[in-house]
């Protein structure tokens, strides 16, 4: 027996005792006043009804039996004598008992039902959800503790009020539409805004269920609400942050675009304005060389040649730099391109550089690549041209172009030569703009070629790297992702 059951037992026992005493005293008073049997019976019935209203079936039955026993033993003659042999007395006794039993059983049944209801209502009070019930004219008939906690009104304050006015409900749809859906499907879900007792607004996720009676007539609406004010606020915060982020991206993009535009204007200006004076220097130096040829000595003629060579080199540098910057600015137009075809075209382009040279070409099987045709071609021209240049000191140059097998996500292409190579400790400088690993008189160049290659491959999402040994040749690799 747990604590509750013990408690209930003692309460019932106390009630039994008290009821019996009350009954006995009342019956005693009744007969003292010379009341008739009918009056006694009526009074008895009233007492039984009252008893059954407060007690259980068992309690009522116990009360009835006790009362009869009291009547029989304590209040016999001279006031009244119950004789079981007399038919009238027997009938009266049976009627008493029968009536008492019927009434108590009916009452206790109702009581049970009420108790169940009360228990259920108590259960509803346990939940943190806000639950209240409205009748079909929206008057609140039930209000749980969750509702009290959320809205700040007690059940006593809320019950009997017109719900929508009481909570100043703001609906997402016209109320008629909501009602129509509720009547059609027996339920409705949506977000509502309510006003609490302290005047603050609260957003709730609301679920309505329709209760129908046995004849399927709607009788009440159960409304369950969850406070989502905080969630809504967080959502709004996230939306705001997103909008801000988007705005920032737009601003940054605009800034980048502006910078890009400036760069473009700069490159345009370099292309137009820097080349012109250079051309003039070269032009006038040339004219001077021609007109003063007869009076110039060997030394002066060499100076003139140096001036012209410098102008030529400056022109090359500007052209290469512009090409390099163009790769950064131009839109890459990617398609499937045949590497084999590209290599062929690149070899054609560098043919003049191979004049008078003894070069053994080894060209392996080459796959298709996904990329910008003209950019990739430029990269190949630069790489092959480098290989030709740095094998110049070899009686027989060997240049191999191939593809590394077994890569799943990327195509790796290499160009290997048996040229002068490089020291691996300078490998980081290989791909920098204006970085050169050889003196100008050994191997000419602007130092932009490999930087251009790197930029092209980076724009394709790939990598470039190199392996080399001094005097033992070099291998340059690049990778392009397979799309």
């Amino acid at each position: 027996m747990n604590h509750n059951q013990i408690h209930r037992f003692w309460r019932s026992a106390a009630q039994c005792l008290l009821g019996s005493i009350v009954l006995a005293v009342l019956t005693f008073v009744c007969f003292r006043l010379n009341a008739s049997v009918t009056t006694a019976a009526l009074l008895y019935l009233i007492v039984v009804v009252l008893a059954s209203l407060t007690g259980s079936f068992v309690l009522s039955a116990v009360l009835s039996i006790t009362a009869i026993l009291f009547l029989d033993y304590f209040f016999t003659a001279p006031f009244f004598r119950l004789t079981l042999s007399e038919p009238l007395d027997a009938v009266a006794l049976v009627t008493f008992l029968g009536t008492a039993l019927v009434i108590t059983s009916l009452m206790s049944k109702r009581k049970r039902a009420e108790e169940v209801l009360r228990e259920q209502a108590n259960l509803l009070n346990l939940t943190h959800d806000t639950i209240f019930v409205r009748d079909m004219s929206n008057v609140i008939t039930y209000w749980n503790r969750g509702a009290q906690e959320l809205y700040g009104w007690t059940a006593e304050e809320a019950i009997g009020k017109q719900a929508h006015q009481f909570l100043q409900t703001v609906f997402p749809l016209p109320i008629d539409e909501i009602r129509a859906e509720l009547l059609r499907t027996d339920r409705w879900e949506g977000e509502l805004t309510h006003t609490k007792a302290d005047g603050t607004r609260v957003v709730v996720a609301s679920r309505w269920s329709l209760q129908r009676d046995e004849r399927q007539q709607p009788v009440a609406m159960l409304e369950t609400n969850n406070d989502i004010t905080e969630r809504k606020r967080a959502e709004q915060e996230i939306r705001k942050l997103n909008a801000e982020l988007e705005q920032r991206v737009i601003e940054r993009t605009d800034e980048l675009k502006a910078t890009n535009k400036e760069l473009e204007a700069f490159a345009y200006s370099v292309s137009h304005d820097l080349r012109a004076p250079l051309r003039h220097m070269a032009g006038y130096a040339e004219l001077l060389q021609k007109s003063a040829a007869s009076i110039l000595d060997e030394k002066s003629r060499r100076y003139m040649t140096m001036i012209l060579e410098a102008a030529k080199r400056m022109g090359d540098l500007i052209d290469d730099l512009l090409a390099f910057s163009r790769i950064g600015r131009a839109e890459a137009q990617k398609t499937m391109v045949s590497l084999e075809q590209l290599v062929k075209e690149a070899l054609n382009e560098v043919r003049p550089e191979t004049d008078g040279r003894n070069i053994v070409w080894r060209i392996g099987a080459l796959p298709n690549l996904y990329g910008d045709r003209s950019m990739l071609r430029l990269a190949l021209v630069n790489l092959i041209s480098n290989a030709i240049k740095f094998t110049r000191t070899r009686p027989q140059a060997e240049i191999e172009i191939g593809c590394v097998d077994g890569k799943e996500n990327e195509t790796v292409v290499f160009i290997r030569d048996n040229g002068v190579g490089f020291d691996m400790k300078y490998v980081n400088k290989l791909f920098g703009v204006f970085q050169r690993l050889h003196r100008a008189e050994e191997f000419e160049g602007t130092g932009i070629g490999l930087a251009t290659v790197q930029r092209i491959i980076n724009r394709h999402g790939g990598r470039v790297w190199a392996e080399g040994l001094v005097d033992r040749g070099a291998t340059l690799y690049f990778s392009v992702p397979k799309s």
Binding site: S271, H272, H280, G315
Partner: protein, 150 residues
């Protein structure tokens, strides 16, 4: 030497003008050359107005046009020429320092007849000018209404 068509040079840089004339002179093509120094002057020449009010109305056999010009730039001059019924037949050669693709595309879209990037190397420059001069002023049959020296 055959008939020699008149060459209209539009070039704001005096050094470029001098070098161009030198190159043309070297091949005796410089006699029939008119030099204008900006886009406005070039258009004045073509429309016989301003300083050129008194000239006879014939068109030049070819126009060597720089792109970066004061007042009215080369592309605007080109656009004006190619959208005018009387002028649109004049062959226009853009002669510029720039290798910028967008200039090239814009020029061809406007209907330029040739696009030449001035080489830095003077020999190449002279060659380019000479070939331009010979082709447009001598070999090419200019449209009717062009000025030609017999």
């Amino acid at each position: 030497m055959n008939e020699l068509g008149r060459i209209l040079i539009v070039e704001d840089d005096p050094k470029d003008v001098e070098l161009t004339l030198t190159a043309l002179e070297e091949y005796n093509l410089a006699n029939e050359v008119v030099v204008t120094h900006d886009g406005e002057e070039a258009l004045d020449y073509l429309y016989c107005r301003g300083n050129f009010k008194m000239r006879t109305g014939d068109n030049p056999a070819v126009l060597l046009l720089d792109l970066k010009l004061p007042k009215v730039d080369g592309l605007e001059v080109l656009q004006q020429i190619k959208s005018d019924e009387k002028l649109k037949m004049i062959p226009v050669v853009v002669l510029t320092s720039s290798r910028e693709e967008k200039d090239m595309v814009a020029s061809y879209k406007l209907g330029v007849n040739a696009y030449v990037v001035k080489p830095v190397d003077f020999h190449e420059f002279v060659n380019a000018i000479k070939e331009l001069g010979v082709f447009w002023a001598v070999i090419n049959e200019p449209p009717p209404g062009s000025i030609r020296r017999k």
